[in-house]
Symmetry: C2
Subunit: 203 residues, 2 copies
DNA sequence: GGGGCAAGCTGACAATTGTCATGTCAAAGT
DNA sequence: ACTTTGACATGACAATTGTCAGCTTGCCCC
């Protein structure tokens, strides 16, 4: 019996440990490494060459999506699976774009995890069913980089003047971008626009 | 050797399963029940009378804090421990007020969990060290109920007029509450005020 | 060289937001 | 009875925000 080697990346240590314990119950899975952030995970994958990388998205230093892209760029043999809280179609889209093989939600039943790992190891894909459909129906990200940037800052409570200073644009321009974003997202103000964009996974 | 019986409440099924697996590795812990929300957890504690309830805070139907209060109100023998992502001093304060015996963060190392459970079972307390100090130094919630309510809605992107309609106040009054909240929290605008309040655990 | 085009800026205007001072009213203290 | 207090309201004002049209610049492409 060949073991499937797995590296797990997850910034919440308790969850990381718990996931490892969960996988250890399976006879055919071997947790060979653990990382608390994206950079560690990248290093581990480069040195250990595991069959599977199981990674969260929102982590310090490097997100799971950036990590997936980095691994794809150097064509490592490791297959990447995302395990996240967020059912944001923008995340899934980006993940698929980065060649990810699995995208599971943390509120899937625990048994599905091992099954999904085996599926992916065997060459298949494992996408959370509630997202699989929505994925292509969901809209494309309409924001450009400036709009995204400005919206992120606005969402943190910074004023237009503040934002302008911080990214070296005039205040009017900042207001223009914000206005554009608001209208593209069909929102009523910056706060709503921010929430819509964030919840869609576009930030 | 007496087993310590534990019920776990956590809305993310995968994490729930993983935590159960983690505890199963410990010889002296017995996971006798699992709940996906606060109400289920309450029912389980009433029927199973476990030694320990391990619960998340943010869950559907009933939060972990409400759950703790409900258990305290009927003086069940079960000792409650919170395990959460959020290092919000307001949460900890409320938890302690509800007689909770443990408050751990999900980014604590996995080994601490079992140790903390034993400590609590033996009659002690287990508070995440990064919070233990801050707990009393942290400020008291300065907001009154109206301010909280208005701030929550503002944080969702609703306009003052919108909020006024929704809670049947005049727009001026809404602005007044918002203004009060902003100044109490020493923020520059509603968005910042919202974030500060939320991050302190006051919403 | 000229046309199209995207990134930025500006100025003007209306709407919304934040601040204040002041007023009413009912409940709670004294 | 007489404050005090808290909840809610008003109106006025300044600052910020959202919308729009038009201007400049540099870049690419033919």
């Amino acid at each position: 019996m060949t073991m499937i080697s797995v590296v797990i990346a997850e910034d919440q240590a308790l969850v990381l440990g718990a996931l490892a314990a969960l996988l250890k119950l399976e006879g055919d899975l071997d947790v060979v490494g653990r990382a608390a952030n994206g950079q560690q995970a990248l290093a581990l994958c480069e040195s250990l060459r595991p069959d599977i990388l199981l990674t969260d998205i929102e982590m310090p230093l490097m997100t799971g999506l950036e990590l997936a892209a980095a691994l794809a760029a150097q064509s490592l043999p490791t297959r990447v699976m995302i395990v996240t809280t967020f059912a944001r179609s923008g995340y899934l889209r980006r993940a698929l774009g980065a060649g990810v093989r699995g995208y599971l939600l943390k509120d899937a039943p625990a048994e599905t995890l091992a099954a999904a790992i085996r599926t992916v190891h065997a060459g298949g894909r494992a996408i959370a069913p509630e997202l699989a459909l929505e994925s292509w129906s969901g809209k494309e990200d309409p924001l450009n980089e400036r709009e995204r940037q400005v919206l992120r800052l606005a969402g943190e409570g910074r004023s237009s003047a503040d934002i302008a200073r911080q990214i070296h644009l005039s205040e009017g321009t900042v207001r223009n971008y914000l206005s554009e974003a608001i209208s593209k997202l069909d929102a009523g103000n910056r706060v709503e626009a921010f929430r819509l964009a964030r919840d869609a996974g576009w930030l």
